[in-house]
């Protein structure tokens, strides 16, 4: 950790990242305790720190495990079941481990008009995976995404916290090349 995170920004940390810092216990180390304390300081209710802390769990481990849900439930005084209902509501929490690079291809309407389906197929073909699978080398997971909010620059592809825009099927090998 370089610069300490300002409390105003603590709930805005990217949680789909390639450089994981795995941990079994989220809030036992200084980093976790700091994140929790800062997030709690920004809301009048403890529960509101749930999304930021789920994000933190995924930022560290790459996915949100049942153990992480239980730990977060405990510190925020929620039930694990409640935490799970929230996790499963949103699409961005990985309920299973994913590849180091989670490749999300937008296939919604504007991207669909620009070969998104072909881009998606190309990613699957190039990585040798089926949708949602982790590639054998652990590098990639490719999934379809609903609108990524870059419709003017179709096809939009999100890889972890990065956007790739105007992607055509021909661009796919070069993108994969760039990812370690």
């Amino acid at each position: 950790m370089n610069k300490p995170i300002h409390p105003a920004a603590v709930s805005a940390q990217a949680f789909q990242v390639a450089d994981l810092r795995p941990t079994d216990r989220l809030f036992d180390d200084e980093d976790g305790a700091d994140r929790l304390q800062k997030a709690l300081s920004r809301y009048p209710e403890k529960r509101a720190a749930l999304l930021p802390m789920l994000g933190y769990a995924q930022e560290r481990n790459g996915w949100v495990s049942a153990a992480a849900m239980e730990e977060i439930a405990q510190v925020l005084e929620l039930t694990p079941a409640y935490v799970r209902s929230v996790v499963t509501f949103y699409t961005m929490y990985n309920e299973h481990p994913v590849g180091r690079h989670l490749i999300q291809v937008c296939t919604c309407i504007s991207c669909h008009l620009h070969e998104a389906d072909e881009v998606f197929e190309k990613f699957l073909g190039e990585t040798g995976t089926r949708a949602g699978e982790v590639s054998d080398d652990g590098r990639f997971t490719v999934i379809e995404a609903e609108c990524l909010g870059a419709c003017g620059f179709a096809t939009a592809v999100q890889v972890n916290d990065r956007y790739f825009e105007n992607v055509s099927p021909g661009d796919v090998p070069a993108i994969l090349e760039e990812l370690d």
């Binding site: 049942a66 929620l78 039930t79 079941a81 409640y82 799970r84 499963t88």
Partner: protein, 528 residues
């Protein structure tokens, strides 16, 4: 300034109805005798998400149909629950709910009591336009005694909100979203709340079912009678569901002053379990050292002759009705025996935070207050019996007595339902009906006198203890036997402070509070 809410008058389907301000349109309609179909709304669950969209009604002046479960009734409002638009909306909700709903009514335990079945029948749309494959979810266990049939679930979230709003334990949730949503617990953490069984009752369809009820009975084959839960001193009002003279299910019966719509699982299980035991089915009298069956007349006469006034011991059960305890008290007076004790089991309390009055109370008997009212006191131990003295035991009071208990008594009368080791020493046994097999009253922890009705036939010639004891008194020339429960209750009420202003009919289905506070006592005793 007056805080009293003003009354408002509105028109619903051409019926005028006056209600308090703050009443919803759905409740106002109910007041006018108009049922607005609904799923997610449950009168006992405070949160009102208005999400099932079944109760949409047309309100003049509103551009869209409005959910009547949350829309406040207003003065002069004109509501149409059966307008073309409202009917179509309802019909389409049913159509939507049936898209992926399995057609398994023939094996569904809710069939016959299912709000989806009822409304589907009512809307009369028999053909599905759904040409797609149905989504299959299968079933899941969400508690050690509750199953979840995901395919039948309509995601009304009543169960989720019961756990959240009433039980205060957010252990049951909606997982996933949209058409993939289902109800679930956290993996590996089944529901273990003491009141969890209520989620089955609030389920408007057959998605949540008690495992011990699965495939046991069809709704239309069951008889039902109002009863009082024997589980603790709260005295929850219940409906006892019976088929073929067996209790198959117990459900809470609404009583706003006692248990609202709820009951705990301890109480729910008890009556079903009590189906099984060795029952006394005929009067027994000891002839030549052996207990021999006898007719009632024979047994009563035989006992009346042999029971002598003198020193004696009485023990009773707080599970017995007030009337039985009262007639035993009269018998004891006739024999010159004072006092008498009962023992009460105790257990952990469990609360329902959303309705704090309702608790599984530590005193695990339904009529502790009634037993005290007619002069019995609690004891920790079984009373000792002096050699040659009279011993009178009523009800379930000897379950743990050693097998030689009472063997030294001069006369040992047992009026109870179950045969246990110590009853083998009795001189006479009057087989007694259990509360579900008779009528009577019980008094709960806060002095509420409540009636229970008969749900089952008693085995053999077992009779309510009040009946046999009052006839015994008649045989002894110490009064007139009570022929029916009404007479028994009024005989008791006439001489019992606290009951003296109550009548059997007044008690109705919701009970009444004892009319006088303070230490209750038999008027008869007080006068002496």
């Amino acid at each position: 300034m007056s805080d009293a809410p003003k009354d408002i008058t509105l028109t619903i389907d051409e019926a005028e109805v006056t209600v308090e301000a703050g009443t919803t349109v759905l409740q106002a309609a109910e007041r006018a005798g108009i049922v607005v179909p609904h799923y997610c709304y449950h009168p006992g669950i405070p949160s009102r998400p208005a999400q099932c969209r079944m109760c949409l009604v047309e309100i003049e002046g509103q551009p869209k149909l409005q959910p009547s479960c949350v829309f406040p009734a207003q003065d002069g409002m004109v509501v149409h629950t059966e307008s073309e638009d409202a009917r179509k909306a309802r019909q389409s909700v049913i159509e939507f709910l049936l898209l992926n709903h399995p057609l398994d009514c023939p094996i569904c335990d809710a069939a016959g009591q299912c709000m989806l079945q009822d409304y589907a029948f009512e809307t009369g749309q028999l053909k599905s336009r759904y040409a797609e494959a149905k989504v299959v979810l299968g079933r899941d266990r969400i508690a050690d005694d509750i199953l979840y049939f995901g395919d039948r679930c309509i995601i009304c979230t009543r169960c989720v909100r019961f756990m959240e709003d009433l039980a205060g334990d957010n252990a049951l949730v909606v997982a996933q979203r949209g058409h993939k949503a289902y109800i679930d617990t956290f993996p590996g953490r089944d529901l273990d709340h003491a009141f969890r069984g209520n989620i089955v009752d609030v389920c408007p369809v057959g998605a949540l079912v008690h495992e011990d009820f699965v495939f046991k009975a069809r709704a239309w084959d069951m008889d039902s009678a109002p009863g009082i839960c024997p589980g603790c001193s709260t005295g929850c009002n219940i409906d006892i569901n019976v088929t073929e003279n067996q209790i198959v299910r117990v459900k809470p019966r609404y009583n706003p002053d006692v248990n609202s719509y709820w009951m705990c699982d301890h109480g729910r299980r008890l009556p079903v379990v009590s189906n099984r035991a060795v029952r006394a089915e005929a009067p027994l009298i000891r002839v030549d050292e052996e207990l021999e069956p006898a007719s009632w007349n024979e047994a009563l006469e035989w006992t009346a002759e042999r029971l002598k006034a003198g020193p004696g011991t009485a023990l009773v059960s707080a599970g017995e009705s007030c009337e039985s305890l009262f007639y035993l008290r009269l018998l004891l007076k006739d024999l010159g025996i004072a006092g008498g004790t009962f023992r009460v089991g105790s257990g952990d309390e469990a609360t329902l935070p959303g309705f704090p009055k309702l608790k599984l109370r530590a005193e695990r008997a339904p009529n502790v207050a009634g037993a005290r009212l007619v002069g019995f006191n609690t004891a920790e131990e079984l009373p000792s019996v002096s050699d040659g003295a009279t011993l009178v035991a009523l009800g379930d009071s000897l379950w743990d007595a050693p097998s030689d208990y009472g063997v030294n008594a001069g006369f040992f009368l047992y009026a109870g339902s179950h045969l246990v080791p110590a009853t083998a020493n009795a001189t006479a046994i009057f087989p007694a009906a259990l509360p579900p097999e008779m009528e009577g009253t019980l008094i709960n922890y806060e002095g509420r006198v409540q009636r229970f009705h008969r749900a089952l036939r008693a085995p053999g010639v077992a009779r309510p203890a009040w009946m046999s004891l009052s006839r015994l008194l008649e045989h002894r020339g110490a009064g007139k036997g009570a022929l029916d429960i009404r007479a028994a209750f009024s005989s008791m009420a006439a001489v019992t402070r606290g009951l003296d202003e109550l009548s059997w009919d007044d008690l109705g289905l919701r009970g009444r509070s004892l009319s006088e506070a303070g230490e209750p006592a038999l008027v008869a005793d007080r006068e002496e």
